[in-house]
Symmetry: C2
Subunit: 458 residues, 2 copies
Amino acid sequence: MSEKKIPYKIYLEEEEMPRRWYNVRADMKNKPAPLLNPGTLKPMTFEELRSVFCDELVRQELNDTDAYIDIPQEILDFYKMYRPAPLVRAYCLEKKLDTPAKIYYKFEGNNTSGSHKLNSAIAQAYYAKQQGLKGVTTETGAGQWGTALSMACSYFDLDCHVYMVKVSYEQKPFRREVMRTYGAQVTPSPSDTTEVGRKILSEFPGTGGSLGCAISEAVEAAGSREGYRYVLGSVLSQVLLHQSIIGEETKAALKKYNIKPDMIIGCAGGGSNLGGLISPFVGEKLRGEADYRIIAVEPASCPSLTRGKYVYDFCDTGKVCPLAKMYTLGSGFMPAPNHAGGLRYHGMSSVVSQLYDDGLIEATSVEQTAVFKAAEEFARVEGILPAPESSHAIKVAIDEAVKCRETGEEKTIVFGLTGTGYFDMVAYGKFHDGEMTDYVPSEEDLQKGFAGLPDVTV
Amino acid sequence: MSEKKIPYKIYLEEEEMPRRWYNVRADMKNKPAPLLNPGTLKPMTFEELRSVFCDELVRQELNDTDAYIDIPQEILDFYKMYRPAPLVRAYCLEKKLDTPAKIYYKFEGNNTSGSHKLNSAIAQAYYAKQQGLKGVTTETGAGQWGTALSMACSYFDLDCHVYMVKVSYEQKPFRREVMRTYGAQVTPSPSDTTEVGRKILSEFPGTGGSLGCAISEAVEAAGSREGYRYVLGSVLSQVLLHQSIIGEETKAALKKYNIKPDMIIGCAGGGSNLGGLISPFVGEKLRGEADYRIIAVEPASCPSLTRGKYVYDFCDTGKVCPLAKMYTLGSGFMPAPNHAGGLRYHGMSSVVSQLYDDGLIEATSVEQTAVFKAAEEFARVEGILPAPESSHAIKVAIDEAVKCRETGEEKTIVFGLTGTGYFDMVAYGKFHDGEMTDYVPSEEDLQKGFAGLPDVTV
């Protein structure tokens, strides 16, 4: 079959855009383990979950049988504002690396939230609006997810209340202002607006807060207000479903030019980007239609897939959420303070965890100075200044392309470039000033995290 | 002629991309006045200019006869990394405003420099490389132009030395880090690396610097090093030539869908974006092929077109550069300290000035709180968080669309959205906190600026 000339950037036309999300769970023989009620240790029911999440999202969370779910027209309309995301042929990077490999990246950063997070934010805001809710609450660390949700809620005229880890709120005011531009209420956490916040403040006066605490406040705030629900930006199966738009578009763009990837690489924190990117390709593997190497890349300082245990664990440090079976370092595990590269979640999406356990995907870990070096090398030739998170995938894509230079193989590499690093310049500055260090947790460090695992045998 | 369905975003295909810059000066009956040697008051010659700018750029600066100039293939290749910039139909904004007007914006912010500045940076870096130079120097205030030039120099492996106004260097470290990511050397100005810098430091110890001082240092640094030239990001006719890619793409995108604009709106500081956007449309007006309302929007606090004089003036506060005939407030004019919206240059491109003087374009000025209000309104429905500079055009586009709502006219409005505001969140924060004020210079303020005009009668 003759190959059409491949442009630098492949943009799908509006009529070529996917109109359905792909639910990889439907094709998985071994389904991801269900969320458990931490009290009864029984699978969370629709009724139990609907007090936290809005109804349609609970249905999606529990749905492991329907392979395709129609994307509502209102969400498709919103997608038009920032999608299709281009699939870019990294001609300049290939030239710089002098590799016979063909490198493509799916770039999700061309929107104000700066990342793929918007794909799920808009879906979650839409279903909240459909249910007639007044608003949603969430937590955010550095602010990427909070920004995405603020944009989505602004579009649907929903109230949005973000609990932002206090130290980020104070030290990284820019994302806070972006959220306020979109009309969100941003509260530094811990705060005196919730019971759990007041408790923590009295126990630890002057604390800078943590993501775990912010989750607890957001969940409490949603539960205590009429017409509110809590939303989460990663880890959940519903989020991976929404993020499958990344993989569906990538697949359509590759198909348009008859490109067959050999390997697909994505960074992995909670697993939302990775899961979204790889879902359709894993689906082909599961159905025996194609084979690909699929590589999850995580930071060596927070190595849940490569060094974690595959067990039930708490999703949050506050232990208020359901239990999930996943590769985990323990909910008390925290990456070392020198960790600047994001992807700091202690666990991993149940879907990604099961795929990894079944050998359908590989995982590797990389150290952060090497990640920033790859980020800078990429930026200088490809123009885009990548987010540290995304740069984990860049690092491994470069490594694989260099291997091709050595072996002469013309492999086709596709990786996910999840976002831009415009709000991460403090970390880049440390890298430039030689102040960035690496950290790999010792076995002892890991054991401490594992010691906090709940005793669940189901 | 039947209208094709117009997508949200019009992207040109690679083969539809303009391959020539349009030089509006060729079609102007009244040519822009030449740059003058400040010593002799005679037009600057090729020989005089080539000690400052590289040869091909001097030829472009002096060329007011060739209507089209081929874009070198290497620049077209670089363009592919971030162009075509989409022409976006602002469906959501139209709906929000409940207007029968059709609003389009040409979005130039989808690149790491965050603005249209990259269009000229890559051209200037290319010609420097072609001439076998080692590097270039420039000045930057908040860092937008410096970032663009850093990216361009990195691509062509040219040394890039940016003198950054010291107060910005210290208070806005993020753009500095972006420049360093692209390998640029960034020096806070005034510095002890130049004679003029040392002089200023001894006279004003502890000064935060100014753009005028940074220009002087950059010019001196280029002149004192073998194989270096100085480059400038706006005002010059060569820059408008490079920026004509904006207008050429816009014209091609409109033509593709048979759209006829009634008015074209752009923000105006030094005039690089405005000039680039409007050039092809002004060309049609000049050749009698079409008619459009063309509106330059400037800040009320720095109103060079609407309240300035059309005379010869210094281009820089240091008075080291040639004299240009332009609408100007005087090289000593500085917008009030509360001015946060950019576009703070005291003069205006000679090309834009002549077009305005000939009545081919209109000009209007707007106050900054209204600009930020428009920016936020736009962000909430269109998703993109605009640069304050770009938001001047948004403000007037919204005003014109609201007029259409009142009159029922279905006008087609095109405006230039030059960039994103991710590095302007301090200003957005002031707006959110109600700390932003307006300022319109008094007649007395203006007279002070005019008092510094040189006595040139040619």
